[in-house]
Amino acid sequence: MNAYILKILRGFWSLLVGMKVTLKYFFKKPVTVQYPYEKREIAPVWRGILNQLCDAKGVELCDGCQICGRICPVQCISMEVYKDPADNKRKTSSYIVDFGRCMFCGLCVEACPKKCLVHTTDYVLVSYERAGMVLGKDKLVKR
């Protein structure tokens, strides 16, 4: 009988100790971020949606070497390459990244020899259909 009462008392005490912890945080500012209204800061190195850089004159740096497409583990990068007769250089006529497949591993960015493929801190990829996740040059090239 004594042990029984003792256990109830011990249980009551452990409850109070636990309540003390929760009470401590009750008076502190909540840590929750109310997402659509406030957004947390994202690290500058964030591996988000890809972008292609251009030089100061607005000319694309990409020369269509295809390394990013070949190193991609999920084959989500595809491009069409042609040789520009004006300056005899290789250029891309289309550059398509399927972000529905992309796993944002960052291997393409590391492999790019021209350093013109970069990650942005953009992470919102919402679309009503799958085709909306496939971004072409108009969305990817940053002029």
Partner: protein, 373 residues
Amino acid sequence: MTENTLKDKDGFETMYLNMGPQHPSTHGVLRLGLVLDGEVIIKAEPDIGYLHRGMEKLAESRTYQANIAMSDRFDYVTSMNNNFVTALAVEKLLGVEIPKRAQYLRILMAELNRVVNHILFFGFFAMDLGATTALIFGFREREEALELFESVCGARLTYNYFRVGGVSRDLPAGFIEKAGNFVKMMRSRLKDYDDLVTGNVIFQDRSVGIGRISKEDVLAYSLSGPVMRASGIKYDIRKDDTYSVYREFDFEVPVRENGDCFDRYMMRMLELREALKIIEQVLIKLEPGEILAKVPKIIKPPAGEAYVRTESPKGELALYLVSDGTANPYRLHLRAPSFINLQILQKILTGVKVADVIAILGSIDITLGEVDR
């Protein structure tokens, strides 16, 4: 799935209870078929495979570097440790020397991930036993650690941080300070954890003496990690079959004797403290230097095989890699600790009450992503 023809000891009909695969407490998609006599389980049949993605086969059509990216998805709670074992196996085949700083960074990340796994375990285990506040506490601390990961490698869950021959990025400015603060914060929060959960009488009543695993069973089922050490076997691969530069660090291997749910819980809490100790030591020892060894752009290890074992937060995580000299591995096999630790479930669930199933399953700490692969 068997037909329910089992009779209980008095010859009466038993009940077949389906638990999962969408039960919130089965930590993913595990289905338990329970044959019940009243409230007591007379037979338990874990059914796995709902999350099977065929990763070992997929690995054969991917390059070695892409396999590290895929290894994030083996056990998605401890991605860094999966990266670690994959990178180690490829390096063993290649025979490259890893720069000192990269070694330290790897251990720093692996131990931080161990902390993340154990606080997540703390939250989920307490939640399984009915303490919702603890889950929120666990997630709150995990968030801080994930921000550290994010500032280093740019992702919060699938880090892809390790490279063959080193790591992908160096630490950003102010990381050491931030990580030091995290360790300090974690130490003070651990006190809260103990007050809130460990000392709680209800929690102890529901976990002490439940789901006892004997030393013999541990050896027979080749369990590993905290589950093994909770049953009184002092064995840690970081100490006893050391890899990377773990021998430079001073840490204890905690061990408990009873092998019940409470001891398995306590093991994680003690290991968490040891992991924090290692993180502190790494932060002091870090010196500037190279982070990536010189490896060829296209990795083609010589034909041969490598077996590497590491201590992941869940247990012994080992990788068997066979190379045939091409850019893709010939075979990749993962010894997944969650999968092997789960096998004991069928035995220890026999004879316990339904309410204890969740406690026992939670205390083994599995990730279904690793069980099914």
